[in-house]
């Protein structure tokens, strides 16, 4: 059951002297939801554009649906749905016209597209905006329309570049719900994000990227298990005392990370660590016990935070 829709070996992309993607390997299976997690400039979008046959690689091998994007770009793109980082809807046209013309770019017959528009509008929760010009839509509506637009050609692979960046929490949740439905329908999803919660919610398997390289790969749960502890204790002693307290904290747990505003203590039993801090006569200003997240994985792998 493991049909690879995408196979990448030694992919490198350089812009002049700058290496945006540095010899990465990965593959994506059919019906898988595969994520690229990393900060801005990690090389996620560049990788996605090469997969989507809209950017030329410098070296390496890439196969999408058994074809080379450099040679058979249009043939590959005929099977893809792409949601770019920045919406590029036609602002002069209405919501339904945008869906229509996009279907036409695939050479789809008018009748076929028209029969799909109602479903797509319903999916995007934009039925009432059907004849409204795109320039009058909110950011969340434009994102949903862009996603609906990418589905007009019934793609085999849906590529989403930072699908919820710039949206408010409510709009993000609506979008996640829509994407989750697509995942349930069995569409192969490729998602880039710098939000760990988004990656945890939507991705079966993740690649953590930083500075053009792959830092780790696996399911969200496996990554957390491998690179972090079950729980994390966050304590704050005040920004001037955090560094000073660090050596004492180090004794009490497996690993610590000292951030400017707080110390993270990694342990499978964070409550117990907190108790021993207090028992040692130290009283943090605030403390928080939580489960480990992908943010911790990223911190461990790169020594940096995802959102800077």
């Amino acid at each position: 059951m493991s049909e690879n829709l995408i196979e990448v070996r030694g992919l490198t992309k350089k812009y002049g002297d700058f290496v945006a993607v540095n010899g990465i390997d990965f593959h994506v299976q059919k019906s898988e939801s595969f994520g690229f997690l990393g900060p801005n400039g990690a090389g996620k979008s560049t990788t996605m554009r090469i997969i989507a046959a809209t950017s030329q690689r410098t070296s390496g091998e890439v196969s999408v649906l058994g074809k080379d994007p450099e040679i058979q770009g249009p043939q590959i793109r005929a099977h893809l749905g792409v949601v770019p980082q920045q919406d590029n809807l036609d602002a002069q046209l209405t919501v339904s016209e945008n869906l229509y013309i996009y279907g036409r770019y695939f050479g789809l017959p008018s009748k076929f597209i028209k029969s799909k528009i109602n479903d797509l509008l319903e999916f995007a929760q934009l039925e009432e905006k059907r004849d409204v010009k795109v320039e009058a839509l909110s950011g969340g509506m434009k994102r949903r329309l862009t996603i609906a637009r990418s589905l007009v050609s019934e793609p085999d692979i849906l590529i989403l570049d930072e699908p919820t960046t710039g949206l408010d929490p409510q709009a993000r949740h609506i979008l996640w719900d829509r994407l989750f439905r697509l995942k349930e329908d069995g569409i192969t999803l490729l998602i880039t994000t710098h939000y760990m919660d988004e990656a945890e919610q939507l991705c079966d398997r993740l690649m953590v990227m930083d500075k053009g390289s792959i830092m780790a790969e696996g399911s969200p749960a496996a990554l957390i298990k491998k690179y972090s502890t079950k729980e994390v204790l966050e304590v704050r002693f005040g920004s001037d005392r955090n560094a000073e307290m660090a050596p004492a904290m180090q004794q009490l747990c497996e690993r610590i990370e000292v951030l400017p505003d707080r110390i993270l203590l990694y342990s499978d039993d964070a409550e117990a660590v907190l108790e021993s801090i207090v028992a040692g006569g130290n009283h943090p200003n605030t403390s928080l016990v939580r489960r480990s997240s992908l943010e911790d994985v990223f911190l461990r792998l790169t020594g940096r935070s995802l959102i800077e």
Partner: protein, 270 residues
């Protein structure tokens, strides 16, 4: 939704789908386009055609310039300049929008459409607008009695040809532009303005000192105007020059499109 799909076909001659979208876009401004197409010739014909024309016929007589009335003399030039203006607007603005303002070209390019398809579609869209403008313009010229010679209809295809050749070059030019402020200043002040003034539009080019005639020689407007005058009222030019005029515009058209097709592709897949 099915995930297993058979091989999909890439649409042939993709530019027609881009054209379809461009026409939809233009329809949103339909009345603006029509108003411009009507007002532009009216203003020129009333101010220059009648004003300057009367001055000329009062001083030289009705066979004022080149053996014909002033209106007949400027009609092919006005038609060609309207074609050039219409073609330019409809390549420059969509290209800036496509690459920079709304980035719609990047959306088109994530479908089977290629850079060349997109450039071709934008160009064809500009041609639709050009044909419309020239059509309206020629009707108005006719009503003013400026299309009175037996072959005056020939000025129409010649003007469209001029619009196509200049439009192709501007399409190529616009596809390189990243900073549009400079671009519009350069195009407006140093290309279109001088072209209109120094292409023998309002008086024969050879009235100018030879050094200034140079502007006319490199201007598609002058080549179209000469051809148009030859075709409509038999303005005397040599057979060789007819070939030069046609060749000049044909080269602009082919080279412009070739560069545009390549640069669109390059800029989209950087």
């Amino acid at each position: 939704m099915s995930v297993t799909r058979s091989e999909r076909k890439v649409p042939k001659f993709g530019a027609r789908y881009i054209l379809e979208a461009r026409i939809r876009g233009m329809m949103k401004f339909f009345w603006v386009i029509v108003a411009v197409a009507i007002l532009n010739p009216l203003l020129y014909l009333i101010s220059i055609g009648l004003g300057v024309g009367t001055l000329i016929s009062n001083n030289i007589g009705p066979q004022g310039i080149d053996g014909v009335s002033y209106l007949t003399f400027i009609a092919p030039a006005l038609l060609a300049s309207s074609a050039i203006q219409g073609a330019m607007d409809e390549v420059v603005f969509p290209t800036m929008d496509g690459f920079k303002w709304g980035k719609v070209f990047f959306g088109m390019n994530s479908t089977p459409q290629t850079g060349a398809d997109i450039a071709g579609g934008v160009f064809l869209g500009a041609m639709v607008r050009t044909v419309l403008s020239v059509g309206v313009y020629s009707v108005i010229l006719y009503l003013f009695g400026a299309m009175d010679s037996p072959h005056s209809y020939l000025a129409v295809p010649i003007a469209i040809f001029a619009g196509a050749s200049f439009g192709a070059v501007m399409l190529a030019f616009a596809s390189y532009v990243h900073n549009e402020d400079m671009f519009f200043t350069i195009v407006g002040r140093f290309i279109v303005g001088p072209m209109f003034l120094f292409s023998g539009t309002f008086y024969p080019l050879d009235t100018l000192p030879i050094a200034l005639q140079f502007f006319g020689w490199i201007s598609p407007l002058w080549h179209a105007t000469e051809l148009g005058r030859y075709a409509t009222y038999g303005h005397s030019i040599s057979g060789a020059m007819i070939g030069v005029h046609i060749l000049f515009m044909a080269v602009m058209l082919v080279v412009g499109l070739k560069i545009a097709f390549r640069q669109f592709q390059k800029r989209l897949t950087k």
